[in-house]
Amino acid sequence: MKRFRFIIKRLLSMIVIMFLVSFLVFVVLRMSDADPLTVMIGNNQSTPELRQALTEKYHLDYPVHIQYLRWIKGVLSGDFGTDYVDGQDVKGLIMSRLPITFGLVIMSSVIGSVIAVIMGVAAALRKGRPSDAAISGLMLVLSGAPSFLVSILILIFMTKYVPGYSFIGTYTNFGEFLQRITIPSLIMALTFVAMLGRITRSNMINQLQSPYIATAAAKGLKQSNITYKHAFHNAVIPVITVAGYMIAGSIGSTVIVEQVFSLPGIGGLLISAIEENNFPIVQILVLFMLGAYLVMSFVIDILYTVLDPRVDLK
């Protein structure tokens, strides 16, 4: 019952935030000096009739809040509208690009988190030894290397030394899909390894130094038991939070690998939409990414209550 109330409350606040932010973004975009009409007319000849027609079609003569309401109503009923530049169906555009982005996010976060946690724990257990220095050093170096550079360097390397490596075109089956996203996912995973690995390590070290670990040792438990059942369990809770937020945030950072590896995902779509002032796409993608983030943080909160009995559901 308590949990149910908590869920309802969280969902409500999520919805409120979504509305607020989407409204803000909607208004802010319209405050920029890009005029939707010129965007839509693009290279076509601009005539008063055309302007009139477009204004009517996109309801640009309505006040902003009405425009917003129309738009959000459409979004809620599954109609994302048409974009300004090519007049394409935004929904279709996004849907066709979602698999790649989701694939990247899921694959990179799974691989990245697992490796990060393994490396972090391994380093923590060997604290102060050369192997810890090596692992922590590696994580530091990774967190320093800009991911777009890493992507480019790896791409150059792959095409030069792995003859059959193909990074172009679309995919027709799941195997090809995996193949397209594997390397980019690994590159994205590096960020996870760098960030999460360090957090895992320091959390794990903190936990290993806490009094209850001494108690567990005094009980005569096996070291592995102490490490994994007690220290790890405690250490992993905050790691999960960070991981969750990183996963949600990585939807935005797919941009870079998508760009470099010519992957048809929503990151690239977003960049070009921003460059072209293609507001309908920007709006919906911001909403989408925000939604993903909020859902993720919601999931984390729920997970927290499961993992950590101390969390009080308020």
Binding site: Y212, T215, H230
Partner: protein
């Protein structure tokens, strides 16, 4: 090892490597604990009580700790040298031969594991019980030491319980495998007097029932008087005096013991102003040339400041490390 002794510590030194240098936390301590007695260790904060007691189960981080001396412990299968144990032996020995209770029960329990399960877990590892058997045994133990309602308490997490209750859980945990030696490191310091009285009574009762030997660490002389049979007084990493509890109170032979007793406010004191020991205890970054207490001691002379006093017998079962013990006792 002498007969009737459960624990013998001989010339134990414990050094820690720290960022500020080596800490010589314990510098040649001798300690004997007899079968079935409660042996108190008192002394000021930082004098090495906890370090000594943790050494008994070798709980310090092996990488930054160096032990010297011997720790022998006797259980059903005979004498054992703790410092020579392998990891596996150590693991079997911890909890079943010697168990430990810590000062702050709140942080000493895994915050996200049910209290009961933390004990059951130990049973399952040590006694190869299955989940249900372990649970039954834990609940039985809970009932015995007044953790009621036992079934409910088993399911509770540490944060849902009060300090007194948690300390009981700790005690249950320590005693569940019926150890030969129980080390209680200031188990009541964090508790209120009323709860302290409950816990002391409980420990005493359990000790009498099971015949377990107890090392009881405290800095409260009242608690010593209340529950200990014999006492070791520590100062700056050394054991300065060992005696039965009555001897300590009635015939202190070391100036430090004496001063400690005098500075303790007592009901019977009519004088409002109390005696205090001037100065403060030394840091342990080096070994001392002379007696560590010499700078604060009113009996001290040049010899005290330059030579390390050896332990001398004052009477049967009463020994002290002081050149001036005769002077002290004669006053």
């Amino acid at each position: 090892m002498k007969k009737g002794n459960v624990l013998e510590i001989k010339d134990l030194s414990v050094d820690f490597m720290t960022v500020r240098g080596i800490v010589y936390a314990v510098q040649g301590v001798d300690l004997e604990v007899k079968q079935g007695e409660i042996h108190g260790i008192v002394g000021e904060s930082g004098c090495g009580k906890s370090v000594t007691s943790k050494s008994v189960i070798r709980l310090h981080n092996e990488e930054t700790t160096r032990y010297a001396g011997d720790i022998y412990i006797r259980d059903d299968s005979g004498e054992k040298d703790v410092l020579a144990m392998s990891k596996k032996q150590l693991r079997d020995f911890r909890g079943s031969t010697a168990a430990m209770i810590f000062q702050d029960p709140m942080t000493s329990l895994d915050p996200i594991m049910k209290a009961g399960e933390q004990i059951a877990e130990m049973l399952r590892a040590k006694k190869n019980l299955n989940r249900r058997e372990a649970r039954e045994k834990v609940i039985e133990m809970f009932e015995k030491i007044g953790i009621t309602p036992a079934e409910k308490r088993y399911e509770q997490y540490p944060f849902e319980m009060s300090g007194g209750m948690l300390q009981r859980i700790m005690i249950a945990m320590a005693l569940i495998c019926e150890p030969k030696l129980l080390i209680a490191d200031e188990p009541t310091t964090a508790l209120d007097v009323t709860i302290q009285a409950q816990i002391l009574k409980l420990i005493k009762k359990l000790q009498q029932e099971s015949g377990t030997s107890v090392i009881f660490i405290t800095h409260n002389l009242g608690v010593v008087a209340e529950i200990c049979d014999s006492v070791t007084v520590m100062y700056a990493g050394k054991a300065v005096e060992t005696a039965s509890v009555v001897d300590i109170f009635d015939h202190p032979a070391h100036p430090y013991t004496k001063a400690l007793l005098e500075s303790n406010p007592r009901e019977s004191d009519t004088e409002k102003r109390m005696k205090s020991i001037p100065g403060s205890p030394p840091l342990l970054y080096e070994k001392f040339k002379g007696c560590a207490f010499a700078p604060r001691c009113k009996y001290a002379d040049d010899k005290c400041r330059s030579c390390v006093p050896v332990t001398e017998n004052v009477s049967e079962g009463h020994s002290t490390a002081c050149f001036k013990w005769r002077e002290v006792t004669s006053q």
